[in-house]
């Protein structure tokens, strides 16, 4: 059988991409486990309270870090590597080095999470893993990123298109963010307010400049690839890209509204998050104008269904995010569980959904094994339901929390806590659903990646028969 160029590329990527997807899946399960414990502790403070390991503060951080660096990092490597190689029509280089760097990345996160659970966290948002693991993480990231860029540099067509911009930009933005934050927080620690501004800036930008562009780039790739039609109003994409690049790092500081920082910082943040309407509008116009031309095909293709769910969720909740950045609204919602809504919307409702779609698109092409449609469908419906329930609970609960907390006459324990508690119960329920759905995803992915022992035995016996 003659292989076409795409098959050759996929073959060269098989080992590395499978490794990254497999480890991403394990981290996803770990994060789901931590998320459940953390949410259960909010409804019942005595849950696992006799184990110091499961203190809320530790579990919550372990969840965020396992999710962003474990699941996020590994799946970003897999998706970026595959899409960049496919679009460049070039084979992967340095497979052993990729595996080596990938193992270091995962080992470092493992040690980092153990450090967090042991109480050795740093106080900086999304940099909570102990100081010692960061050089290893940075080094392995550097190796993987360099190898991906090498693939991109050897591309056949010199012009680049939207998915490449977003994926490669996020690849470069993360080390840039990290170096700025690491320099200002650890190497030459800034004093006073600057430190907390920097810490918060990094924590939010990891999501805005690292996870978000990867998800957007994947959507820019997968929608035209599956639908077979070019992106509608593609000329806007370049504008959207530069808007995100220039506005997003400014917009995140609106979270400091009312904080002990110079007034211009949250003011600029608010203005820039209003301006973020540009890139949000551009991306959603691009995606949805293309997708809704052939909505039947979108519905019938499960990977695309995941992706469009992600882009719709991106559009709707980014606009909600803009509203919540207005000072008048932020005053009420600032110190409520609305913050959970923002985080979970970004990482579950948007990033993860698109990555699920990408994995379902990539995996059959790489391994040649299709995942059962019923499993994918179950995963989609439970994920969609879980995410919606989770986000609605955090949104409505957050508003309730914020409004009640503004009234000093109310008794905190009897009125505020008791009215927010039902929403925590709902999120606990949602996290259980999400954990089940992710378990199904991971089992299926592993089944596709790891050859089944029976097949191996069959093959062995065939070889033996052939030999005799």
């Amino acid at each position: 059988m003659k292989e076409n160029s795409e098959q050759i590329i996929d073959k060269s990527l098989k080992l590395a991409v499978c490794f990254f997807i497999a480890s991403a899946g394990l981290w996803l399960l770990a994060a789901a486990f931590f998320a459940y414990i953390a949410s259960a502790k909010l409804t019942d403070p005595f849950f696992l309270s006799s184990f110091e390991l499961f203190t809320y503060g530790k579990i919550k951080l372990a969840q965020a870090n396992a999710f962003v660096y474990g699941w996020g990092g590994n799946s970003i490597f897999a998706v970026t590597l595959w899409v960049v190689a496919r679009l460049a029509q070039a084979e992967a280089r340095g497979k052993v080095l990729l595996l080596f760097a990938g193992s270091i990345w995962n080992l470092a996160i493992t040690f980092g999470l153990l450090g967090i659970l042991d109480g050795h966290m740093t106080p900086h948002e999304m940099l909570e893993m102990p100081v010692e693991v960061w050089p290893a993480l940075f080094l392995s990231y550097g190796i993987i990123a360099t190898l991906i860029i090498v693939v991109h540099r050897s591309r056949r067509i010199k012009d680049t298109i939207a998915p490449q911009w977003f994926l490669l930009a996020s690849l470069l933005w993360f080390p840039m963010l990290f170096l700025i934050a690491w320099n200002g927080l650890e190497i030459d620690a800034a004093r006073g307010t600057v430190q907390s501004v920097l810490s918060m800036w990094f924590g939010q930008n990891v999501i805005w400049l690292w996870l978000t562009p990867v998800a957007l780039g994947s959507a820019y790739y997968i929608i035209p690839a599956i639908l077979g039609r070019p992106i509608d109003k593609y000329y806007l994409a370049v504008f959207g890209f530069w808007c995100i690049a220039s506005l997003a790092p400014w917009s995140v500081v609106h979270h400091l509204e009312g904080g002990p920082v110079p007034m211009w910082i949250p003011a600029i943040g608010t203005v820039m998050s209003i301006a973020m309407i540009f890139p949000i509008a551009v991306a959603s116009t691009n995606f949805h104008a293309t997708a809704f031309q052939d909505i039947n095909k979108v519905w019938n293709s499960l990977p695309l269904r995941f992706v469009i769910f992600g882009t719709l969720s991106y559009t709707v909740s980014s606009y909600i995010g803009v509203v919540f950045s207005l000072p008048a609204v932020a005053k009420i919602t600032q110190f409520s569980i609305i913050n959970e809504f923002h985080f979970n919307q970004r990482v579950y409702g948007f990033f993860s959904m698109i990555i699920f779609g990408m994995v379902y698109h990539m995996l059959p092409r790489i391994t040649g094994k299709e995942i059962a449609k019923s499993a994918k469908s179950f995963h989609f419906w439970t994920s969609a339901f879980g995410v919606l329930v989770l986000l609605l609970a955090y949104l409505i609960g957050g508003l309730t929390h914020g409004v009640l907390a503004q009234q000093p006459s109310l008794d905190w324990a009897s009125s505020v806590i008791s009215s927010v508690k039902p929403y925590f119960l709902i999120t606990e329920f949602a996290f259980i659903i999400l954990a089940f759905s992710q378990l199904v995803f991971v089992i299926n992915v592993w089944k596709a990646i790891i050859p089944s022992p029976f097949e191996l035995l069959n093959k062995l016996s065939l070889i033996k028969k052939g030999a005799t």
Binding site: Q89, I157, A267
Partner: protein
């Protein structure tokens, strides 16, 4: 078409190579040819123009001119209000100094301890001539004195030379003592205390009660 039947390679409507080519071409051509007028760019320009307008208004109103510190509330006070505010601050400062340096003997309520430490509340020594109380703080006091008909000073003495105290602190604490509790005497200004310090600069020893009674006959005659 279900994807189960899809072959995974080359059966899509668009291969990756085509995808790159088509979009690169779109990048150059800007948009597929349409007849007439493109409404979408106009709508975008209009919406984005409005957004930039809103953003600049917001920026102009809320950045506090990029100052480091938040704006202080400018309140116009009348002269009387300013004076009242000044007295109040002086009184508060004096109260702190008193609590720190005087209250251990004279007690927070200014009543002292009978037989040991003389009271300040209602005492002529504190409330009469501004110079008298300032002199005592500046140079100290030893020997026996009579306060409100009781004899004090056999066991204790005021010795302020041990702990330096500024003129401003003396002015604040004497003003506090003269106006706290039941006392209702005049304020002592820092300038006055500066003058008192100069007047007594030649004096090395602590005062004795008799010296002071001689120096301020008007206080003790009636």
């Amino acid at each position: 078409m279900t994807e189960d039947k899809d072959k995974f390679h080359g059966n899509e409507n668009m291969t990756d190579e085509e995808l790159v080519e088509i979009h690169s071409k779109l990048n150059v051509e800007k948009h597929p040819p349409t007849k007439g007028f493109l409404s979408a760019p106009l709508i975008f320009v209009f919406v984005f123009g409005c957004l930039i307008f809103v953003c600049s208004i917001q920026l102009a109103h809320s950045t506090n001119q990029f100052q480091l510190h938040p704006p202080t509330d400018v309140v116009d006070l009348t002269d009387e209000e300013k004076e009242a505010l000044r007295i109040e601050r002086k009184f508060e400062s004096g109260k702190k100094i008193f609590a720190l340096r005087c209250a251990s003997c004279h007690q927070a309520n200014g009543l002292g301890i009978p037989g040991q430490y003389p009271p300040l509340d209602g005492s002529k020594w504190a409330t009469s001539d501004p110079a008298l109380v300032s002199y005592i703080i500046l140079n100290g006091l030893k020997g026996e004195i009579v306060v409100k008909g009781e004899v004090y000073g056999t066991s204790a003495a005021v010795n302020m030379a041990a702990v330096p105290i500024t003129d401003r602190e003396i002015a604040n604490v004497t003003t506090y003592v003269r106006q706290a509790w039941g006392n209702n005497s005049s304020e002592i200004s820092t300038d006055e205390v500066v003058q008192f310090r100069q007047d007594t600069s030649a004096k090395q020893e602590q005062w004795t009660g008799d010296e002071l009674v001689e120096m301020f006959p008007a206080v003790f005659t009636n």
